[in-house]
């Protein structure tokens, strides 16, 4: 039976249409022959088709429209008294003789329309009578369509101001009264629809009901079109009456639709002036009404209105729009205890958007909104609704987008408190949003207070939160986050050294809590940020006069020392080593020998104790050598100690080639190509010779171990070092020595067990070409190179 529902309905509709067509045919004949009696008879029969209860609203509408078209023809006939010979007053009675109410009332409305047009009675009285008589149809669907017909035929006949039907004083009131009454009755019928029929079809019924909503809403539209409805009347009559109906009907579908309708059809200006009334209705609505959307739309409209012209802004202030909206939202949330968190937060988002658009200068308002949101959030358990979380993110993002400036957000005391209510994941997302905002706008955070707040905001990224499941962390995301934090640290900057030092201390305080996984990301930024300050201080050294200047390079170095120590405890020895060397270099530039020595010590200790991997050792030793080479702050003693250590470590590397390379690199420690750099040719030669020995040993070991000697690359590399020092004028390096080395290389190459290697051959060839080139260049250098016999 249910399966055939749709089919049956089609059949019933077809029957209804046939009935209408059949009777319309005879009605037309009667109209053509000016036979009023017949016309009334057949039109009533035609309208009887609308008495059906079998059709869904959709199909019923189809039927109604057909009848509607026919009624237009009948109306034209009614208008022409010459044709039927009955005065409109008599006609008005005559149609009321019909026994069935529905045809009777359709006919009455049709004649009523003619009656008003004839002006034989005041429009208001006819309208009043019609709207009263329509009470007879209590069937929701039929009643709705009947009243809709009434609204349709009366639309252009309301006694509005300036209308030809305008009567004496106060007739606009009558027009309004009429529409309001029709509206009220229609809404009642509409609401009643939901109680009809069996409960199991409720969903379908609600859907069908929703299709009819515009019939009801049309009345509000008509009201908004009435010229005479000025602000005063809207305020005093229209709005209170409409709201009364909305509230009293206690139906969520209707309330939602009508509230939205009110907001959409009446002018913004009216809304602004009646905010209190309009908002006052909100807490009285059913808990299931999607009030947040309604209010959001209202606020959207008002914000657009505010944006439309600067002239209207005073109006907003005058009516205290913000206070009212804020108050209303509070009340709605209070009243609707079951409203999910997402609803409440969405409301706050809307209010915030409104505030940002209408009162961009009122940060206190923004903070108020956030505060209210915090209050709401504190009353509920931690958010686990993803939609709600999304809304909180929207709430927090809005000020950032508006002001393009995190600094503004940092002044909002409730901002971090809202963030506290996010789950860990979202908290991080939000923190990222904040950082990205800073990056995008290149915002400089320049006071320690703001830095504090900022770190409070992004603390989700800075340290592990309680109960966070570490296993679930996505490595990729984590890296992105920490890189972002690292970048952020560079944005925390103040030109004033003292403040900058404080910032650094603050950043340190926060980042150091980050744990082993975070420090490797954040510490380098912090260190370099501090080094930048040192460079700055170094640059303006002359200006520092005070005795108790807090921001001195020394102090900062102490700080750095601790930071690096912390990092090395993580442990992240390689990074700590690199940073130590950086610091040492800076200390060198500041002429702080002890500090630099300390950092080197730290680097060596790290090397000794923490760096066990041979590859890492190679890298580390080269870094140490490179840095040490550039140091000029050290006295002889210190320098000797350090170079001795460096060379010592070099020779103790695991692999021979590594040893060899480290040792020849050490040669540079004794020859700094500066004006007053150390130039100890003898020790250079010692280093190189030692390197050669190691290279030889490496060849032999290779022979023994693998049956073939390695490539001659090491020798060529050493040759290049020889050439370098030769060129730089190291007396210990002679042409003959170079010549000997070249011969050695060639011998090695011809050795049976030598492995041909194109890379080393090419290296050698280009080295040889270089020598050739220097020789041919002539001049002092040419002469010098002449001594090398090839």
């Amino acid at each position: 039976m249910m399966l055939n529902g749709a089919e049956d309905e089609e059949k019933w509709l077809a029957e209804g249409i046939a009935g209408i067509q059949h009777n319309a045919f005879y009605m037309h004949r009667a109209l053509d022959s000016n036979n009023l009696r017949e016309a009334l008879k057949y039109s009533a029969q035609m309208l009887s088709e609308l008495r059906t209860s079998k059709l869904s609203p959709h199909k019923y509408y189809d039927l109604y429209m057909r009848a509607f078209d026919e009624l237009r023809k009948l109306e034209i006939f009614f208008k022409d008294e010459g044709k039927h010979g009955v005065s409109v007053v008599d006609l008005y009675e005559l149609v009321q003789h019909a026994g069935n109410i529905l045809p009777r009332l359709y006919l009455l409305c049709t004649v009523g329309s003619v009656y008003i047009k004839s002006k034989e009675a005041p429009a208001k009285e006819v309208l009043k009578d019609l709207v009263e008589m329509c009470r007879g149809v209590q069937h929701p669907l039929r009643g709705l369509f009947l009243r809709s017909y009434l609204a349709q035929v009366s639309r252009d006949k309301l006694p509005d101001i300036g209308s030809e039907y305008e009567g004496d004083a106060d007739t606009v009131m009558d027009a309004v009264e009429f529409v309001l009454q029709n509206f009220t009755e229609m809404n009642k019928l509409w609401v009643r629809m939901q109680h009809q029929g069996p409960g199991r079809l409720r969903e379908k019924r609600e859907k069908e009901r929703n299709e009819l909503r515009d019939l009801v809403g049309k009345n509000l539209h008509v009201l908004s079109q009435i010229e005479g409805v000025d602000l005063e009347m809207y305020k005093e009559t229209v709005l209170p009456r409409v709201l009364e109906q909305v509230v009293n009907c206690k139906d969520d579908l209707s309330q939602y639709y009508l509230m939205d309708c009110i907001i959409q059809v009446f002018p913004d200006e009216y809304h602004l002036q009646t905010l209190e009334t309009l908002l006052g209705a909100c807490p009285q609505l059913q808990p299931t009404v999607d009030i947040k959307t309604v209010l959001s739309r209202l606020m959207d409209r008002l914000s657009n209105y505010a944006a439309s012209s600067a002239d209207v802004l005073p109006e907003f202030l005058q009516v205290e729009a913000f206070a009212k909206l804020s108050n209303a939202i509070g009340k709605v949330i209070e009243a609707q205890v079951d409203m999910p968190a997402v609803g409440a937060i969405t409301l706050y988002v809307s209010l915030l958007t409104f505030t940002l658009r209408v009162h961009p200068d009122r940060l206190d308002y923004v903070d108020l909104v956030l505060g209210a949101c915090v209050k709401k959030l504190s009353s509920i358990p931690k958010l686990d609704d993803s939609r709600a979380t999304k809304q909180v993110v929207a709430l927090l993002s809005a000020p950032l987008e508006k002001y393009n400036d995190i600094v503004t957000a940092l002044t909002l005391s409730n901002y971090p408190r809202v963030m506290d209510h996010l789950d860990n994941g979202t908290n991080k997302v939000m923190a990222m949003v904040i950082i990205q905002s800073i990056m995008k706008n290149n915002t400089c955070i320049s006071t320690v207070d703001k830095v504090e707040v900022l770190f409070e905001l992004i603390k989700g990224l800075i340290k592990d939160t309680d109960g966070a499941d570490v296993d679930e962390l996505d490595e990729e995301d984590f890296k992105d986050e920490q890189n972002a934090v690292a970048r952020l640290i560079h944005m925390l900057y103040n030109n004033e050294p003292e403040e900058m030092l404080k910032i650094i201390c603050t950043v340190r305080k926060h980042t150091m809590a980050g744990g082993p996984k975070r420090l490797p990301f954040t510490v380098p930024s912090l260190v370099f940020s501090a080094l930048r300050l040192i460079r700055q201080l170094q640059g303006q050294e002359g200006d520092i006069v005070g005795e108790e200047v807090p921001a001195t390079p020394k102090k900062i170095f102490q700080l750095l020392n601790q930071i690096i120590e912390d990092l090395s405890n993580v442990p992240s020895p390689e990074l700590a080593l690199r940073l130590s060397l950086q610091c040492a270099e800076a200390a060198n530039d500041c002429d702080l020998e002890h500090v630099a020595y300390e950092f080197f010590t730290q680097a060596f200790v790290l090397y000794e104790e923490e760096i066990a991997d041979s590859k890492a050792q190679v890298t580390a030793i080269h870094l140490i050598i490179g840095t040490l080479q550039r140091m000029n702050v050290f006295g002889v003693e210190n320098r000797d100690t350090l170079t001795h250590k460096a060379t010592g470590y070099s020779a103790r590397l695991l692999k021979k080639p590594d040893q060899c390379r480290a040792v020849y690199a050490c040669s540079h420690l004794f020859w700094v190509d500066d004006q007053d750099g150390i130039k100890d040719g003898e020790r250079v030669l010692l280093c190189l010779k030692r390197a050669l020995r190691i290279a030889n040993a490496a060849q032999q070991m290779a022979n023994v171990a693998r049956g073939s000697s390695g490539p001659v690359t090491l020798f060529v590399e050493i040759l290049n070092k020889y050439l370098y020092f030769f060129e730089k004028g190291n007396q210990q390096i002679t042409g003959a020595a170079i010549q000997g080395l070249i011969e050695l290389i060639n011998t090695e190459k011809q050795n049976d067990s030598a492995t041909p290697d194109s890379a080393s051959d090419a290296f050698l060839a280009s080295t040889m070409r270089y020598i050739q080139f220097q020789r041919q260049k002539g001049g002092i250098m040419g002469e010098k190179f002449e001594s090398i016999k090839l």
Binding site: R51, I101, L102, E132, G136
Partner: protein
């Protein structure tokens, strides 16, 4: 012959036709003096045909003339000519018996012979006609003028002329509304109100129904006008009820607090005034019957008597 009505009583005519193959020796015409200007109203005859007849009211003078026109070349011998004004009540279950509640006679001619057309004027002054003409289900009240030419040996020659009597009532000085609360306990409580209890024939019934409690699913509501005609008396009382109007007041199910308007025009319906007691023979009463129908087609109703009166039309 403008203004004069020629009406033959069809029953009598057919009877005459059956009695003899020969026609009566003369024609009789009855006419009213003010026949031209007097209002004519339709009257339904026994054969179902409707004819227009003169309308009178009580206390009027009934003046006119009777013309007797013998058939060419025939003479009519008679024992006298008279005209009677009769008010009769005819009860159908007692067919053939007429109760004359009014009977007036005027002698028109002494016994003699008629050779040619002769005109007799007649007059009944200030005739008391307290009852209205009425054509009901079981009873008929009618007024006739009856002309009789009495003859010896052969049957009398008789001619009838119907006329209608309607009596007008001034608007009642007291006309209370009908207001009542009725219902079925815990199911349906309504309060209805008709603005008046007495209506004239072209009146409008205005009122409203207020729903105080609705716990049953109503389908619709209608207002009926019912006529109750009761004839006879004692054990021989016959009551006949007709529903003259079924007027739908409401479509669909109302909710509590709903008030439904009533506006019913009486003019389309063929009503008569209420007749309380017509010569102890019959009475006619009218009722408004409010019927509520629920979705299972159960009917709930409340009947209220109204008084209908005839208001002089201006």
């Amino acid at each position: 012959m403008l203004g004069k009505l020629l009406i033959q009583d069809s029953t009598k005519a057919s009877w005459n036709y059956l009695v003899g193959a020969f026609k009566p020796p003369c024609n009789i015409f009855i006419s009213f003096a003010d026949g031209r200007s007097r209002k004519q109203v339709p009257l339904k005859k026994e054969n179902g045909k409707t004819v227009m007849v003169a309308l009178f009211q009580s206390q009027e003078n009934i003046v006119g003339e009777v013309v007797i026109e013998p058939i060419q070349g025939k003479k009519v011998e008679h024992n006298g000519v008279k005209i009677e004004l009769l008010g009769q009540i005819e009860l159908y279950f007692d067919r053939g018996n007429f109760y004359d509640f009014t009977s007036l006679v005027r002698e028109l001619d002494v016994p003699g012979e008629l050779y040619e057309r002769k005109t007799y004027p007649f007059e009944f002054s200030t005739v008391e006609m307290p009852y209205e003409s009425y054509n009901g289900v079981n009873v008929r009240l009618r007024y006739i003028l009856k002309v009789t030419i009495s003859r010896n040996y052969v049957s009398n020659i008789v001619e009838y002329q119907d006329f209608v009597v309607r009596n007008y009532t001034p608007p009642p000085s007291i006309n209370n509304s009908i207001k009542m609360e009725v219902g079925i306990e815990d199911c349906l409580h309504i309060e209805f109100e008709y603005s008046k209890s007495k209506y004239h024939l072209k009146d409008v019934i205005i009122g409203k129904i207020y729903f105080l409690l609705v716990r049953i699913k109503l389908k619709n509501m209608e207002l009926e006008i019912r006529r109750r005609e009761s004839t006879g008396s004692g054990p021989n009382t016959y009551v006949e009820t007709e529903t003259l109007a079924k007027f739908e007041l409401m479509d669909g199910a109302p909710v509590r607090g709903e008030s439904i308007p009533i506006r019913l025009f009486l003019s389309p319906y063929e009503l008569t005034p209420t007749y309380r007691n017509i010569n102890n023979k019959f009475c006619v009463k009218y009722y408004l019957n409010l019927v509520l129908v629920d979705e299972e087609d159960r009917r709930y109703f409340k009947q209220q008597e109204i008084t209908v009166y005839r208001l002089l039309e201006t």
